[in-house]
Amino acid sequence: MSSEQLDTATDRQLVRAAKTGDKAAFTSLVRRYEETVYRFSFKMCRDREKAEETLQDTFVNVYRKLGTFDGKSKFSTWLYAIVTNNCLMKQRRRKMQDLEDPLEEYDDPPGTDSSRRRSSARWDETPADQLITKELRSLLDRAIDSLPVDYRVVFVLRDVEGRSNEETAKILHLSVEATKSRLRRARAFLRDKLHPYMTSRERERR
């Protein structure tokens, strides 16, 4: 492919060319998605070095497995499945205990008889992005770090990356129902971690 063709080619066209041994086409795919893969990996592992390691492993895997990509799903969905798998493998090696915590208590709303969770008192206005303080940034990091990885991945794919329930389910080989259930629990878990900070009485005490 010429450099002009590379710029305007669809993912599908680049994949087809790369499969026939067109190195420039594969490099073009890498350039197109390296930022997405790096940022997603960072959001998952919260660590620059691990994100870079995942970035490298992911594209090596993509190159080696390209022949098995049948084009039934979007290239980006297939890529997300590979990078997600790499992230999960790394995380699981570190935190096996995550798998033992199903977060069932987040199935009920807070403040009900069946829930031990904190009440649903109103939150203050959230600060605009540029006003996120160091303290809040660190709280956000700690909260998502403590979210078991099988839930974190659903939250990041759905709410941060903006993938649909259906695509997230496909990436993770889950049913749509299981995806929704994990998302609900993940959102509730994170919300509860931020709750003390976001209610004014608690914040004034600081």
Partner: protein, 91 residues
């Protein structure tokens, strides 16, 4: 529509303003239930905070290393396809 059901479905739908009978019931419940309204609001704010969270741009050094790895991988695989493990191609 109970608080428990609302809790379950607002989380599925969040900002998707679906016009199904269930969503209409949820909206009706939310109008009359300050507790559920506050909860939905806090969930939306949680998502917004994480969405606004900054992920760093890919460092130039990481980009260079990646290109080098890919280049090596492409020439090696052409010589001996499907022989190497994912770790061997790394820096």
């Amino acid at each position: 529509m109970t608080c428990k059901k609302t809790y379950r479905y607002i989380c599925d739908n969040l900002d998707e303003r679906l016009d199904s009978p269930r969503c209409r019931q949820i909206r009706q419940h939310l109008e009359n239930c300050p507790k559920c309204r506050a909860y939905l609001d806090s969930i939306k704010k949680t998502v917004a905070l994480y969405k606004a969270g900054i992920a760093p741009d890919i460092p130039a050094s990481a980009h260079r290393r990646l290109m080098k790895t890919i280049d090596t991988e492409m020439s090696h695989l052409q010589k001996s396809p499907a022989r190497r493990s994912p770790q061997t191609g790394r820096r």
